[in-house]
């Protein structure tokens, strides 16, 4: 972590310096030593201000801790670990902010005790998905009198992958897929999930009898299973770039990505096995939280692709690869 400093004079400081100069001029003009004395007092306040603000900023180190998964347009709590490495001198009146100031509000701290550490929880809000490069922190102070604003840049480079925003999904995603608003398409067949119970027909495999339920109703009931490929969904995100590019294409594209993310998130949470297919990339159909974040990572970085480019994967994805998979196509 390296640092650089910058000093600015505040408006109060400008006035203060101006008054000092005027009184100093008066002292020189009149030779009045008491005016010299007052000038000296004002000068010493200016110098003391410079020294103290320098001391205050010295020895401050800062580290940020953040969640593993960050979504855009959602407030996320980060934790800043501050250390004052000065053995005896506390730091006062410190403002801390990210160099990219629009992602988190600045934090003001009255005092950081000498030779100690503290932590501050800060709410971040990333407006866009994608890779966010954080440069470091801007630590500043106007201590002790507000005459000067002294800034110190604490470099702490970090790259964060911001997932697209996920919103509640309505019924629109099922168009042309056979999926219902509230749940999945359930087809009886071979699988592991229980589909339902029915009466036993003689000659059937007795291993499929649901003994517990049969005991309750005093007749034999057979277990029926759900066909697994009915819970598989491939989300097709058409990230092709049209020609000519419409003026609001970027906004619309971001909306599509967010829609894809929302659908994937909703489906995986409902137990579906979901894959993602887009130009330049394909993620196979899987389930679970780890897979969700895998898809989210892909969606965080997906960009519009020129249609003239390689669309092989997209084509292959659409062909279905012989596998019975529900399709959701998301296109402009």
């Amino acid at each position: 972590m390296d640092a650089f400093k910058r000093t600015h004079i505040t408006s109060l400081g400008m006035w203060f310096i101006l008054i000092t100069l005027v009184i100093g001029l008066g002292a020189v003009n009149t030779g009045n030593n008491l005016l010299y004395f007052m000038t000296s007092m004002l000068l010493s306040l200016i110098i003391a201000s410079g020294i103290l603000s320098e001391v205050v900023l010295r020895g401050i180190t800062l580290h940020r801790e953040h969640p593993a998964h960050i979504f855009s347009k959602r407030q996320t709590n980060f934790r800043w670990r501050l250390e004052n490495r000065k053995r005896w001198i506390p730091s006062f009146s410190i403002w801390i902010e990210e160099m990219d100031g629009d992602i988190a509000d600045p934090v003001y701290l009255h005092r950081i005790p000498a030779y100690s550490s503290m932590q501050v929880d800060v709410t971040y809000l990333f407006k866009r998905r994608g890779v966010c490069r954080l440069k470091g922190f801007l630590v500043s102070t106007r201590f002790p009198f507000g005459l000067f604003l002294k800034k110190r840049f604490l470099r702490q480079r970090e790259e964060l992958l911001i997932y697209p925003s996920v919103r509640p999904v309505g019924g629109g995603y099922h168009r042309g897929t056979g999926l219902h608003d509230g749940g999945s398409v359930r087809i009886r067949g071979r699988g592991r999930e229980l589909y339902g119970l029915r009466d036993y027909i003689e000659g059937e495999d007795s291993r499929l009898i649901h003994w517990k339920s049969s005991a309750k109703v005093s007749r034999l009931l057979m277990k029926e299973h759900e066909r697994e490929d009915g819970r598989k969904v491939m989300v097709y995100l058409n990230n092709s770039q049209p020609h000519p590019i419409p003026p609001d294409f970027e906004e619309r594209f971001e909306y599509l990505v967010e829609e894809a993310a929302s659908i994937v998130s909703t489906l995986i949470k409902k137990g579906y096995l979901v894959g993602l297919c887009y130009r330049m990339g394909r993620i196979p159909v899987r389930g679970g939280t780890a897979h969700l974040y895998r898809v989210m990572k892909a969606l965080a970085t997906v960009t519009p692709v020129n249609v003239a480019g390689n669309g092989t994967i997209w084509q292959r994805g659409f062909s279905g690869g012989g596998c019975r998979v529900q399709r959701i196509e998301i296109a402009p």
Partner: protein, 729 residues
């Protein structure tokens, strides 16, 4: 970290969301608000004092404003709500009424500046006072407090042009410290406000909360401000004095003295002998102690006496121009001289006072005048305090040949009786000096000192010699001069001051008006003019009463002298002197260090046989030091507050527990040896819930680390430190 937005744990200094909500509602009035108000109000009396010193306003007016200040303070402190940055509502005085007051004030001050005081400065000072009073009863926001401080600042500014009294020094120091503190508090208030506005603007719950000011804050701020004041002194002394002023002349009130004009009536000196006003201070830079001889400070000498008054008739004033920075007053070398550094207050005479037999005078004067009687004077009476150095001969100027004017033997009419008396006293004495001694002894033995003596105004000398036989210095000196002249000894009457009161604190003579004196100078062939004082020694009643007061007075006077010397009269010459002194010191240190280095080299040559052991020991010491530094940097030697994460939490938990016990012991809560940590925890009473929780946490950590498995410990090092900080605070 996911989901941490729901956390409601202490943030930073312990801000919780409810604290923030409390702030937003604006119902809190932290002690920083109160401190800010009090410090602002403390500055006001200082400004009033400064106003009083500027002599533009009477004491009764200042006391009146002081009472109003107190009432305003009570009013402001009792207000229920905190002061905001710039709230316009709720002012005690309506804007319309304020305008009317403003108009009346402007009209009054126009009249004041044109007809009453006729001084812009005085009017400005009065205007400031009125503005201050109005503002004191119209305090509604921080801006009003800011304006009050600005008024105080200008009150201090105004005092600088009117007075230079010593009381300004403590006034400046206190004002500086309070202003320092005020600026810090003002800064904190501004920052706090900005931070709160930021939070109001967004939903960010960041580490902002009201900071409770502790005594430690005030003490440390006070100490830092004192250090800054030392910096003020440094700046003051090194700031270049460029004398390019257009309005540099600054008249000080003159001290009225009598007896130093070209003629004096008998009795003039007596008029000023009751005044304790300080006329001058005399230092002896080469002695730094009271000299063995107590010189008289010679002012003016007179040759002609008409029976009622003394007149300087010889005159013949010639102009003295500086030669190589000094004025050549008399003949002779500059060896074995008494050097006097004289600080003369502004008095209404142009005479410069010196010890007798002066040969050189150094001072910042364009030219001087000297007459044949040896009286030195300025072209005009000084308008401000003067400082000059005089070199005077201590010994007589033996072998000196001088033609003495017959004027020094002049006798007024009607002095036959006095001459006859002198003849009787000196009968059979031939040597002039013996004659002087005989007449002097006669006067001392047979006449009484009486400052209130009355005499016949038509024939004062005869009345003194033959009727009242009492008087003061003028009568004694006149009688002696006339009697000596009647027996053929040339004499002249000299007016000036006695040596004065020795101030042991500052090593100088303090000469007051009551030390005004007159004596006789008689010419001794071959020895020149010698001083003879026929006035009998008399116990002068002290100016002070009480045992400590004289010492205190002398101490204060020496402070006054230092204030005047080093602050008020500090000049470019002083700066040069300081620089030369520093230069000399530097050379001296360099010479001394060279001598020491040479000595060390010689010693090393002698101890060459011991070089290897010394080398090894030094190397070991350096190695140990480097190891220590390395250990400290790597965190091995850090105390519990070590901020590097890593192993060793077990040791840290134990250390924190022990430190906690020490802190509790300091607070009067001691754990007896027979108690287990848990028993001790259960025995604690009178502590806050937070403290008890913190102690419980540390005790739990101690138990776990001491007797359990470190791996099973769920608390972090930061949790422990936070708990410890809670107890420590």
């Amino acid at each position: 970290m996911q989901g941490s937005e729901d956390r409601d744990s202490p943030i930073g200094f312990g801000l919780r969301k409810e604290d923030l909500l409390e702030h937003r509602s604006g119902h809190t009035c932290g002690n920083s608000d109160r401190a800010f108000i009090i410090v602002t109000y403390l500055l006001v009396p200082l400004g009033l004092w400064a106003t009083y010193l500027s002599e533009a306003v009477s004491l009764s007016a200042i006391i009146g404003v002081g009472v109003l200040w107190f009432l305003s303070l009570l009013r402001t402190l009792r207000r229920g709500r905190p002061l905001h940055a710039d709230t316009q509502d709720g002012h005690a005085i309506s804007p319309g009424f304020k305008n009317i007051i403003g108009l009346i004030i402007i009209v009054y001050f126009l009249i004041d500046v044109l007809y009453i005081s006729s001084s812009m400065l005085t009017t400005a000072v009065r205007l400031l006072l009125v503005a201050q009073v109005v503002k004191l009863f119209d305090i509604n926001n921080e801006r009003d407090l800011f304006q009050i401080v600005i008024i105080v600042f200008f009150q201090f500014l105004s005092v600088t042009s009117n007075t230079s009294t010593l009381i300004l020094l403590p006034l400046f120091i206190v004002a500086f410290i309070l202003t320092f503190l005020w600026l810090v508090l003002h800064h904190f208030k501004n920052e706090e406000r900005d931070a709160l506005e930021l939070i109001k603007g967004g939903d960010c719950v960041s580490g902002v909360h009201r900071w409770h000011l502790t005594p430690a804050f005030f003490i440390s701020t006070g100490l830092i401000s004192l250090a800054s004041f030392l910096m003020t002194l440094l700046f003051f002394f090194i700031m270049p004095r460029v004398e390019v002023g257009f309005f540099q002349h600054r008249a000080s009130p003159l001290i009225r003295v009598a007896g130093f004009s070209e003629e004096i009536d008998l009795g003039e000196i007596g008029e000023i002998k009751l005044s304790p006003s300080v006329v001058m201070r005399v230092e002896f830079p080469t002695l730094k102690r009271e000299p063995s001889i107590q010189p008289h400070w010679r002012g003016r000498a007179f040759d002609f006496f008409d029976g009622y008054r003394w007149i300087d008739t010889i005159g013949g004033k010639r102009m003295l121009m500086p030669e190589e920075g000094s004025f050549r007053i008399g003949d002779g070398g500059i060896e074995n001289l008494l050097i006097q550094q004289i600080i003369l207050e502004p008095i209404d005479t142009s005479v410069l006072f010196t010890a007798p037999n002066s040969v050189r005078l150094v001072g910042d004067f364009p030219y001087l005048k000297i007459d044949r009687n040896g009286s030195i004077s300025l072209p005009r009476p000084p308008s401000h305090r003067l400082e000059y150095t005089v070199f005077s001969r201590i010994n007589e100027d033996k072998g000196r040949k001088e033609t003495v004017s017959k004027a020094y033997l002049q006798m007024p009419e009607g002095m036959e009786e006095a001459a006859a008396l002198a003849g009787r006293i000196t009968e059979g004495i031939s040597e002039p000096e013996d004659k002087v001694k005989a007449i002097g002894a006669y006067l001392k033995d047979n006449f009484k000192y009486n400052l209130y003596a009355r005499w016949d105004a038509k024939r004062p000398v005869q009345s003194f010699l033959f009727e009242t036989k009492e008087g003061y210095c003028e009568q004694f000196a006149t009688a002696m001069a006339i009697m000596l002249r009647s027996v053929g000894v040339p004499t002249r009457l000299v007016t000036g001051f006695l040596s004065g009161e020795w101030n042991g604190f500052g090593n100088y003579y303090l000469v007051r008006q009551k030390d005004a004196h007159s004596w006789v100078e008689a010419y001794m062939p071959g020895r020149g003019w010698l001083t003879f004082d026929p006035t009998p020694a008399v116990e002068v009643p002290s100016t002070y009463t009480g045992a400590l007061l004289p010492y205190l007075s002398l101490f204060l006077d020496s402070m006054r002298l230092m204030w005047s010397r080093y602050i008020i009269r500090y000049s470019i010459n002083d700066q040069q002197r300081v620089m030369e002194h520093v230069r000399e010191r530097t050379f001296r240190i360099r010479d001394r260090s060279e001598t020491i280095i040479k000595g060390i080299k010689d010693g090393i040559k002698g101890l060459r046989s011991m070089a290897y052991p010394v080398f090894i020991i030094t190397g070991l010491v350096i190695l140990l030091f480097l190891l220590y530094r390395f250990g400290r940097d790597m965190g091995f030697l850090h105390r519990y507050r070590s901020i590097t994460e890593g192993d060793g939490i077990k040791d840290e938990a134990i250390r924190i527990y022990r430190d906690m016990l020490k802190i509790l012991k300091r607070r009067g809560i001691e754990k007896s040896r027979s108690m287990t940590p848990l028993e001790f925890l259960c025995s604690l009473t009178g502590l806050s819930q937070d403290e008890l929780s913190a102690i419980g946490l540390i005790t739990h950590a101690y138990y776990t680390m001491r007797f359990g498995e470190a791996g099973s410990f769920s608390l972090s090092r930061d949790d422990l430190r936070e708990a410890f900080d809670t107890i420590r605070q």
